[in-house]
Amino acid sequence: MRKAELIAAAFFFLAGAHVVQQSTSDLDMWSRYGPGPGFVPFWAGALWMVLSALHMLNVVLQPRIFHGSQPFPVGVSAVRVIVLTAILAVSIFLMETVGFLVAMTVMIALCLAIIDRYSWKKTAVASVVIAATCYAVFSAVIGVPFPRGILGI
């Protein structure tokens, strides 16, 4: 936990430093009449840096026994989260090519079949029903023009 905490705080610190640098180099801190577009980002970035530094200090000085165990899952649990994220990313990537409805159906089917080990029969029925219902509600109620793919749906 301690290492992860330090990495996260360091990331926040660097992000804050980047914001401060961008605010001073690319944006005006003051305009003719008052604060410019760089004013708030500069102070927010600086505050981010100070808070991250304080947090890092807190983590370093805090007794080791008060740091929790490993925060992220390992083994099968980690694989399940990674597979889910990959399925989501691939489905979103495919949405404009194969169409929103098809990609969404594939996404649900992959989740049910790979992560939850549903039978292919159950998977097929559930994925088609869920995807079609969501799609129909949003396109019928608010007329959203979802991307259509090579199949025209």
Binding site: P35, H55, V81, L84, A89, E96, C111, I142
Partner: protein, 507 residues
């Protein structure tokens, strides 16, 4: 328009079939969200917000507010029968609620919670009815410095929403502010932090971030293991849910205490429903003649927290409608929904859009009655929904997330951004970084920036403008207290930990 005629007119509009339907959908969805663990009101409101676009703003907010307070009722059922809080504010209900379920009194506990929820919720709407016009009238005299101080209070309130660490809460709020400044600067038109991406010119929409942080991240966390929900002795008929008159009479003082406490805490920035239910449990235990029985299945331990939770939920809308300051992630999302529907939350809302305001208020009275009707006789049916297979549930939520996010701007970019925030939210949750302050920073950040720049422009850069009025000074003092109190608390905890370590070392 005075309160009486405003409310009557509000009822006339709220009772139209279309508005009643939106209210019913809202409270039904809210109850379902409360019952089913894993999906909270912030994500649901953000996901379903696109359904309200292009419609009458009152109808849209009636539905979204229904989800908000409806979830409070539903959360009790899961806490009592499954020992899992459907909502963070239902944690205290688990303690005695589950014990009652184990003794075969789960139905009575659900009934006590629903009636308490109705009591607290209705009183909170009454408070909103009476107080909102007065507060709005007072706030009309506020200028940019006072508004900036108010927004600062909203941001500092994250110290109470920040979970275990005030620093982490503040860091997430600063993250939200940083996200909010990305895009075109509304005062000068200058591009900020767009990195040449045209998609970023209009900024990052908060529902996209909220859906990622609250829904996608939650589903990722749920994917870690196979979730098995075991429901403990659900009530078989509505008769089991209805408490006896003697029990209700005994609980009247509890309901009154919890309502007053919940309403007071709910109106405070950062107060929120969770704190009020925690405090209410403590109060009930301290006034009880048999405090040792708390934790073994005491009806006061269910009625108090549930009543306070519902009262706080209604009360949290007072600062949103009258001052434009949200006190929790859900009320921040509701406030942003108001802005997306073309309304400006704040003191002018009641004067400029009285029809809207009174219709929403009237709908909340109706919504609470609907919720009581739904939750008492339909409790056995609602309990059965807990047996719905989780895989079908989370894949449905994922599908709604995708279509919901895409519908906001008809943009695939938003879908990607939502996935990215899902991953960020998952990592943040693992490292104990709370997501609520980020949403608050994202919503309140632009308002704070605008008012601060307006104030400094009027004063030609003189920072003394923030100390020029007693109201502004008072609000800044409150701000300082928000930061100072948790700091002292942290320092004390730190000292205690040090002493504990020394004791371990010497032992």
């Amino acid at each position: 328009m005075d309160v009486g005629s405003g409310l009557l007119q509000g009822f006339a509009t709220a009772l139209t079939p279309a508005n009643m339907l939106f209210c019913l959908i809202g409270v039904l969805v809210g109850t379902a969200v409360g019952v089913l663990p894993g999906l909270g009101p912030p994500a649901t409101i953000a996901m379903l917000m696109p359904l309200t676009f292009g419609r009458d703003p009152a109808a849209g907010i009636i539905m979204l507010a229904g989800i908000y307070y409806g979830a409070k009722y539903g959360g009790a059922i899961t806490s009592i029968l499954v020992n899992v809080p459907g909502e963070s504010s239902s944690v205290m209900t688990c303690i005695d609620g589950y014990q009652l379920a184990k003794q075969g009194k789960g139905g009575t506990a659900i009934g006590v919670a629903a009636i308490g929820g109705f009591f607290g919720g209705t009183f909170a709407v009454l408070g909103l009815t009476l107080l909102a016009p007065l507060i709005a009238q007072f706030a009309l005299s506020f200028g940019p410095p006072e508004y900036f101080a108010l927004m600062l209070i909203g941001l500092c309130a994250v110290t109470f929403l920040g979970g275990n660490s005030m620093l982490k809460g503040l860091m997430m709020a600063a993250f939200g502010v940083m996200l909010a400044v990305a895009g075109s600067d509304e005062m000068s038109g200058t591009e900020r932090f767009t990195y040449g991406q045209t998609n970023l010119l209009a900024g990052i929409d908060f529902p996209v971030v909220a859906i990622g942080l609250f829904a996608v991240a939650e589903i990722m966390a749920g994917a870690e293991e196979v979730l098995r929900v075991s429901v403990f002795l659900p009530p078989k008929s509505w008769r089991e849910v209805l408490p006896s008159p003697a029990i209700l009479w005994r609980l009247v003082p509890t309901y009154i205490r919890a309502t007053l406490l919940g309403f007071f805490i709910g109106t405070l920035p950062g107060g929120g429903a969770s704190i009020s239910s925690f405090l209410s449990y403590g109060v009930e235990k301290s006034v009880s003649k048999e405090p040792e029985k708390f934790g073994t299945g005491v009806l006061e331990g269910v009625g108090g927290p549930e009543t306070a939770d519902n009262a706080a939920a209604g009360a949290a809308l007072v600062p949103v409608f009258t001052l434009g300051v949200p006190s929790s992630a859900t009320s921040a999302i509701l406030m942003a929904a108001l802005m997306m529907l073309g309304l400006r939350p704040g003191p002018l809302l009641i004067t400029e859009h009285p029809d809207f305001f009174w219709t929403v208020v009237a709908s909340m009275y109706i919504g609470n009655v609907l919720l009581l009707i739904i939750n008492l006789p339909l409790a056995p049916l609602l309990a059965k929904t807990l047996k719905a297979p989780y895989p079908l549930l989370y894949t449905s939520v994922l599908a709604i997330c995708m279509v919901g996010v895409y519908s906001i701007n008809n943009s695939m970019w938003d879908v990607w951004v939502s996935l990215i925030f899902g991953v960020i939210g998952y990592i943040a949750a693992k490292l104990d970084y709370p997501p609520a302050p980020l949403v608050l920073g994202l919503v309140v950040g632009p308002l704070a920036e605008r008012t601060m720049r307006q104030a400094l422009t009027f004063s030609r850069g003189d920072y003394g403008v923030f100390l020029s009025s007693p109201v502004s000074v008072g609000l800044l003092v409150v701000c300082a207290a928000f930061l100072f109190v948790p700091m002292v608390r942290s320092a004390r905890r730190w000292n205690a930990q040090r002493k504990e370590q020394e004791a371990v070392a010497t032992a």
